[in-house]
Symmetry: D2
Subunit: 315 residues, 4 copies
């Protein structure tokens, strides 16, 4: 990722602010406020603004439960309790706003999280940057044989080179033709003084899905965690996981106590079905179980054993 | 409204904070942050936290429209443009959190605005305060004869006194019986050491709807304006309007440019139907119109004339 | 619950419809369409309309995953897979609409589920029915000693009688005074021809929270299941659980395959934290664990053992 | 648009259903249920399911306002009243589900309407069809000179031909390279038996934004009207307006009374600011107004005159 001189100056200006406020402040997050944290080849994540911290969650919970919360003596204990019991509304009391630059095909996954506010760069109004995502060699994965949605081995040698060439050439050529149709280049120069440009809202359709876009994305802490649980998971596509990983770090800086509970109960946790509970009970009591007669399908059996990290019990 | 000594101390402590932040700050709003602004007899509105200011809206719009927004030269011009054309997402980039104390029957109206986050004091966990709303004499209105939803003349003399007595006595007695059933008073003292109290989640059902509750209510600027447009309107019930009026003032302190555009285009504006447009065209061209042959019903005709403040044209 | 003759006639009329449609139909749900299923003393649940059935979920999933779903051979297998992996959007493709009569204090819990559409009877426009909830003896529970939110033993003898009397008398008196203030009774008759009634929007504040209200409540299948998971749970207040239980039966009639997966993976399932997983692994491997050194608090240890139904391991 | 034989057969099978139901039915909508209505060159809109009709709105309103609605004597009068006064919840009581095939750049506009349920064809799981949008000559508009977001004159002759060629060639080549990278064609045939295909979730990034995708899109009547008001408007991009126009027709078939009120109060109506109201009052009273001294900017003055269709007053 390379920022323009103007962008770097803007970030410096924003960071040099020193305002006074009576609001609560998250010191570790302030340290990286406005920073453009690099993701993929041209993308970034920036925290632009936030509201609240760990104490805001506690404060909201204590309003709800009144004197009823006094039993949980510490803020950390209360936050863990709320997380464990899936209390949701206290976590909605904190809000964060990101500026994100990301490839369009990832933006299309991301936008499915509806409980958020979005202002995206509009290619109806303006010309998109000449930037597109090209995977690094180590991410050029083959289609998985066993999982319709997954990745398999990494492509090697000539084949990898061929794929990268195709991606690069197609993105470059479609972008050049985008400029030709617009009769205008991103820097504002005109291609041919004697021609008229196609409407931007039309020309954009020629761009490939790895072209970068950008947006402001604002959400509350609860929905941020819902996003991260899905998108920082190893089932998520690598390219969105790269963003989620960076955002996990901003979560830790913003609300460290919540972060810890989130990692324990959500990210590291698992769900067990009613049938799965019976299997666990039997295994603990030392009973021998024949997976075929367990009431679970082979697939479900293996999912349970993987979730519990009991690899010796896979069939 | 009377705060306890503990509450007053808590507010003072919060207000004495002087944190440094790189975030944008709304100085006029900071001045009243945490203040308990009195509403009705025991209610209040407090701004607890906020995120963003007028410049955040501009910033979000400029991300969306890129260089396309350069045509509108000033921030104020851009905000007015966005408001006039019902652009919504830039206004979602600001967030505010209130602490509100309000009668339950008003809370039930308020909660219908779904795009907000709420933490309400729970009467399953804790005992509600002994506070209930009693209207002032000048708000003791009779049922309107012409409008099923509205208020008519103010009740006078003996009848007003009777109504207030009924409200007061019923609220007090139901509250006392609430304590009797709980076998516990709000101050934590036990009524009868030999008895067991009814579960709080049950006892609360004996309270009247003018009992005060409280909550944290957080929303974005767009949805705050949607709320205020409906609830600060003269069709709204007086008791919720009293809250909306106080909140309008916080809006003005927070985002003064947006406030001005909001008052012009939303609060002071009106809608005109396609049939209404034809009437206006004819009136402007000096054409005589017979309301009966205008294509509008009498009711609709009068609504249009009232909206345009053309009282001489009412029929 | 007693319906008026007019209501009974209306239900009969609606049920006598026999329309033809090309839409999918849920035959078991059609059998009870419009029926008023009794809940509590005066409440009811009625299914008024619905859209889609189990096959609609499968259809939506197959659009999403294209040929990718062919691996799961049966509709039932696919629905179970979707439920197990928390796929949400296919379950949003079905919609249901209920007509519910319920006490106001329960309506206040219910409305916290925001992703739903609601039309509630308005006491600004109309006079509420003279009906209020009085618990049966077996539901007159004391406040739990150990759980701030819970119920303990059932009140007995004189104390139960006293509580019921207080509830009944207060509800009746506040309702009578409501009529007095309105100067109108529910049947439309005037109390005193020489007086003016207080505005309805004001008089309603005198009613107690066990007064019945009613609404149309419409939601999609995903959010219905979210509602039922919380409200049919044994931690939920009995009075809302009574509604959830009836609605679970309508779920079974509507989408029987989804219902089965829901009961297995959601209602009967449990979550395990990352620390909890380690405990389970050790228990399965036969390792002795000292709860004090398990990394879990006593409370959390017991919650895990209860969730796994390992009562002999409680401490 | 050309459907495959399988698709045509599936539609015939669905349409040959004749189920009995006690639910309300919209006969005009039933006539086109499941039909694939052609939009653009390869797109379509299909109504897949619906719930409720005009009477459902009336029914919901009468539950809310109780006897209070009796004053409005007809269903049509009540629906017009609700529309005029921006009552929203009764219109949420109806639901509709569409199956839509549309270019990705239009899908990206569409998805910004968040209050809807979506199941989109996943290019992580499956291979996208070889279909991309190419505008007709009459829609090949130049960028507007005066409006950053708009279209100007239609491109002519050689330039139009050049643009179409670029669009067509780029879409075809990027699709072919998509197949090469996948090492698989849409019909399932393998390109080179000795190679491994790139993961689908990666290969898709090479496609251009005019590639067609498809989804199930479900929303309530209120949000459908919000969508149509914005997207059937002449400011909307032609390509999404083409979809909105077809959907307007389905709205008319589904809820004809609501459709009529919607066209009068929303589509054909306009908003007037508080300053605009004063201008109208003066114009009606015959006062001469100098636009420069009207308090409106030139731009705002012209917007008002255009909204009122007073073209002789443009400056």
């Amino acid at each position: 990722m390379k920022l323009t001189i103007e962008q770097e100056q803007e970030i410096k200006d924003l960071q040099s602010q020193e305002n006074k406020t009576k609001r609560v402040v998250a010191p570790e997050l302030e340290k990286i406020l406005y920073d453009a944290i690099s993701v993929l080849d041209h993308g970034f994540v920036r925290v632009i603004d936030y509201m609240g911290d760990d104490t805001s969650i506690v404060q909201a919970a204590r309003v709800s439960y009144g004197k009823g919360t006094k039993k949980v003596s510490t803020d950390s204990g209360l936050i863990k309790y709320l997380m464990r019991h899936w209390h949701s509304t206290p976590f909605e009391m904190c809000e964060i706003k990101y500026h994100v630059k990301l490839p369009i095909f990832i933006a299309r996954q991301w936008i499915r999280h509806r409980t958020a506010n979005v202002n995206e760069y509009s290619a109806r109004y303006s010309i998109l940057d000449k930037e597109f995502y090209l995977p690094k060699n180590e991410h050029l994965a083959a289609q998985s044989k066993s999982n319709r949605q997954g990745r398999g081995d990494i492509l090697q040698g000539e084949q990898a080179k061929k794929v990268l060439n195709l991606l690069k050439n197609d993105a470059e050529r479609t972008y050049e033709n985008y400029e030709t149709m617009l009769n205008e280049r991103y820097d504002g120069s005109i291609v041919d003084e004697n021609e008229t440009g196609l409407a931007r809202e039309l020309a954009r359709m020629n761009l490939t899905l790895n072209t970068y876009t950008q947006w402001y994305w604002k959400t509350d802490l609860l929905n941020l965690m819902n996003f991260l649980r899905l998108r920082a998971d190893h089932h998520a596509q690598y390219e969105i996981r790269a963003y989620a990983d960076v955002m996990l770090d901003t979560l830790k800086r913003w609300v460290p106590t919540t972060y810890e509970a989130f990692m324990d109960y959500r990210v590291g946790g698992t769900e067990v079905s009613s049938k799965g509970k019976i299997i666990i009970q039997k295994l603990i009591s030392g009973e021998k179980i024949n997976p075929e007669q367990s009431g679970l399908s082979k697939r479900e059996w293996n999912e349970l054993m993987l979730a519990l990290e009991l690899k010796d019990k896979l069939i």
